[in-house]
Point group: C5
Chain length 321, copies 5
């Protein structure tokens, strides 16, 4: 589906154009075209390939989707694959944005993701002095937007860990906590899969031999790279803390086991001792003087209660009860 197809000149919007007019505008050196597609049909992609002269392998990647994040040079143009990560009801939902960038065009192909880049386009159009940098600036703006959207996801995962930590340390560990930790680990792996390859790839855009297209915008791309490092380091910390939480939780479970065993033992003692005493006076010996005492029974019961009272006090003190 075609979302937008706009020609820009000197940082300002020139006109909304039709896909079939693209090749006319592409010819003009002073202007560039920014096309946004959403889950395009093969025909739409083919039109774009023809109008912009895109490389076969890149178009095929965009057609099949499910690429890993990467930045590839095809001659003078770039093919960039970005993964968007959104909080979904269950786990994270990963989408894909494929961006083709040439000297005077940008084509973004978005799939499996709800949120588009209308706000990026709007903001860019309000800053003509920056948009004047041309197509590479648009690439920067899209990458920046994708990367910025990782942060709320990361914050949500951090909040999730804090929530689980609270549950671990305040009260009883249970199956739900363990499952939460496992799911959290899974989500971190999912996020990492989106961000780690991109960090590696994006380092090519600001240091060493930079693609011709991006020259002059290196400080912007370094900014994106910097954000990605921040995301990745936070993910790594979270992963390490999740692992620590799992092993700490196992220790707490073992303590809990110890406590249960102790409590059981205490209660067992409270029952077993009177049972033993009762057993003794249940013996059938002829000559058991206590049996004939008139206070034999109440005294025995009193002794039982006294012993249990004492045991109870001792167990309480030892924190077994």
């Amino acid at each position: 589906m075609l979302i937008n197809c706009v020609a820009y000149q000197e940082g300002r919007k020139l006109a909304d154009i039709q896909p079939r007019e693209i090749h006319e505008y592409v010819r003009r050196p002073e202007c560039f075209i920014w096309v946004a597609l959403y889950e395009p049909t093969p025909e739409e992609l083919e039109t774009m390939q023809r109008e912009f002269g895109l490389h076969e392998l890149a178009v095929e990647d965009a057609r099949h989707g499910h690429q890993r994040p990467k930045i590839e040079e095809y001659g003078d143009s770039l093919f960039v694959v970005l993964h968007t990560v959104e909080l979904a009801e269950k786990g994270l939902s990963v989408g894909e944005v494929d961006v083709f960038v040439g000297r005077n065009y940008v084509l973004s192909v978005r799939s499996r993701t709800e949120r588009g880049f209308a706000d990026v386009r709007a903001r860019s159009e309000h800053e003509p002095e920056l948009l004047r940098h041309g197509s590479a600036y648009v690439l920067y703006a899209i990458m920046d937007a994708v990367v910025d959207r990782y942060f709320p996801v990361l914050d949500a995962l951090e909040a999730e860990l804090e929530e689980v930590e609270k549950r671990i340390f305040s009260g009883q560990s249970n199956r739900a906590i363990i499952e939460s930790l496992y799911l959290l680990k899974q989500k971190l792996m999912t996020l990492k899969h989106a961000t780690a390859p991109l960090q590696e790839a994006s380092s090519k855009l600001y240091g060493g031999r930079v693609p011709q297209l991006c020259a002059g915008l290196q400080e912007y791309f370094r900014d994106v790279y910097d954000h990605l490092i921040r995301v990745n380091q936070s993910i790594d910390s979270l992963r390490e803390m999740v692992t620590t939480a799992i092993s700490v939780n196992l220790s707490l479970l073992t303590i809990q086991e110890n406590e249960v065993t102790k409590r059981l033992a205490a209660y067992a003692a409270l029952v077993a001792v009177p049972t033993m005493i009762a057993g003794v006076y249940g013996m059938n010996f002829e000559n058991m003087p206590e049996l004939n005492w008139s206070l034999g029974y109440p005294v025995t019961v009193a002794v039982m209660v006294a012993i249990d009272g004492y045991l109870f006090y001792r167990f309480r003190k030892a924190k077994w009860l």
Copy 2:
């Protein structure tokens, strides 16, 4: 066993030829020969060595098999060892494809694997404009096919993990789950052994100093490399999740243990308390007034039942039962 021996010219099939005619065709600069062998006899290999002038060490590797995946240059020619991985009934079955590539020949030697490369040859013959690239394109096509066949294996292993996860979190952990996790880990190691060395080796075919043979096809080999990275990252994630699943499962087992202990304790209490009361009234004191009450017995039994009822209610509420 000789599967195929075909000469190609300008991307089109010229003729099925006999092994002994090879050296005639190899001389012609404009054509190349593509030979496929399946578990060849030493004599067949020797014939090929003589016809194509293959290097002794490479032929020896192919004769012995059981090499690790690698890409070696012998002068102008390449010797490539690939591992095929197929889903077998028990675990994974690993086969080997050794490919000798020279300016105008490709020799593939397949062993311990069921599926051949007939489809690769068929597809290549339908795209003469690509096959025109010569022997290096055939190498690409074979590598691409081998690597593409890793994905269904990977998917199967991912499905296996999901299946085990479901069993871990919904119900009782048992020996079978643990054995599944161990076997899954083993399979991941097997797959990794096939893919990791190949990723490392294949990076030589598209960046930096590329073998003369592969020049001009770098974007294709980068694609293969890219797929290998994707496979390897997925394997690493799966390995990490398996490790996490093992430790999470241990926590769940400890919880299960706690639960069993608690339930036991609860039932023990339900039996021990009436036993104690009965013991008390089994004492032989002469002066136990309750014994003479006409309702002594039913009241005592009622008290036992009442206490057990109360305990049962409490244990239920505390989730011990």
Copy 3:
């Protein structure tokens, strides 16, 4: 909030100046200006940007804060982000110091941190022969101060680990120990986040291609780098020891469990054996000669006591009690 704004010449203080006079002093090649801001308003930052001609992206970073530690070159000037780490009541409190350094100015922007750099300024003013090195020396002095302040934090964490170790090995493991280990791990991760990126970044200031500004002060920056390596290695050791402590603690918990079980069993035996004997003599057989013996009862009780005495002795010897 403006803390200080001073012009220096030849290593000596020239005058306290007003922000609006800065551009006059910046023009003079022989002097440099050192401005310190604390959580500045956007207007203050804007003034500084105008007076010193700071790069937009760097100023934006300072405005937003929450950057990761880094050292970035913008043309001839440097933008340095440092994290301060202070011991707070609960966990560590992380602040930020952003430093803009040009040929003849230093602007430090401090936020979320209590302790300032008044002492650094005072010490520098007492060593005019060093301050004469100019703005880069001030950068060194600030970095050195920030890094030196990591050591007491590290010492506190080391003391914390030693304290926990003592509690682990001398007495009973409990929840509090495990929570302490977890929190310690968290603090180490926090500290690492401040120091690890800075180590990496600061290596750029003394080896290889050094920014023009820092030339001649490389041995000073190497010293800072050296301290950072020391901090980071200590953090890594601490992290490894915390992990070891967690797993060692789990072993101790299991031993504790064994001990509790053994003690329970011993006490159970002390109660169960007399109960069994009493049960035997509680049987109603007509023909039980012992029942008629006049010493039957005291002998039986004596036997019970004797058996318990013996068991008690055996359990003591086996360390079950």
Copy 4:
């Protein structure tokens, strides 16, 4: 002890010579000498040092032994330390082979190892076209032999792991299994110590700047390197699987514990319930109508048996028994 001292010319054996004649043969450019020593006396070593002009530090290393595997250049000559690993009754036995290689001599010094290199010499003498490459080829042949002898050791360790796996998953885990896993880990570490440094060192012999001596034999040394990578990757896999096996075994032990607890509980229940019922009818109430029923006793016993039968059936179904 001198094992062999032979002069070769053009790949063929010239003569068995005496150590004191060595310097005469060494002078002739067209021939080379291959000396094999076994645990030599200091005097023998000194003779060799004098005859071949060996470097003091290398000779000292050979004298002391217990070096780590390495390949060192001393001017034009090489000093190579190899570790042999043999299966011994208890664990692995590690020996050492020190090889001095110069333009026209090879001196191998073997210690703490049973198997020598007579077969290597024999095979080399049968392939004069290869032996013609000179002393570097002999170095290759010795390295190849040492490395090839790692494979049966590796196979034995793999078989050992499989054996332990079988015991883990089929039956009861016990101390012996755990000790086996620990010893296996130890052996893997021992083997790794022999192979890992050698892999690193041997990479110098085929890529980048190759020692003058080895030029022309790079494809042979690459083969050795390749085998070493294969050994090391297998060792790493085995180590990882041993670690996994240890943790999987712990889970199985916990399951076993659960099972034992459940079984105990079931048997306890089978005994406790009749005891409680018997207790009730052991009470001395005057008015217990059941006591006077003529069938009271057999009915009660029947009820006890029936309850136990039912419990037994339930426990069986729940797999507690």
Copy 5:
């Protein structure tokens, strides 16, 4: 404290000199001075700084101590920090040796360590042909001595691990074993802190761009480096084995727990069954024929004994007792 201050010429001792004469001897190009200090006063250090013209930052490091091992170049001279590690009663005691080396002087500053370098000086003076190499040779001799002294420490730690292993596998695991493993890990970390940074630093002295001073002695420094690699690899192995030992020990503890539980259960059964039988015959039914049999009592007791005998036999066979 000044230990020694000696001038050497052509590898031979010239004279014991006074600190205040140093500058006279330093001027002579053909001789060098070797000074040894032990925990010097600030004044002593200042004298040395003046006499040798040492760099301020290096002297400050030596004054403060507690540096990490490193090798720093200050112009033509080197500043080397070494850590000595000695076996102390509790743990390891770490000392420091700071060495300043210039073209014709060596100054060693030793602190917190018992053993000095008198033997190094003595040995060096007996080998004038080596000492002739000058100050760099003295640096080598000191480094070599420090590194050689790591080996007995390493051996002690290896022996400690073997001792712990024996205790783990032969008998009952207990707190002391776990504490030993933890302390061993701590000692390994301490040793690693001394050796790992030094390995890294010392690689600068033999490969690539070597400091002018050390040229010609590269093979000696490579030897030191080699020893350090050996130490570090052994430390890493030991660390890994300690980790394995901890987890293996946990498994053994769990087995021990299983065994204790089983033994308890067995004994409980031996007591519970007779109790149940006695309970049955303690019931007060009027019509219990067995009670009137004259052999009722002895037969019942015999049955109890027989059942217990049988149970005992079964438990023994199942290894529960």
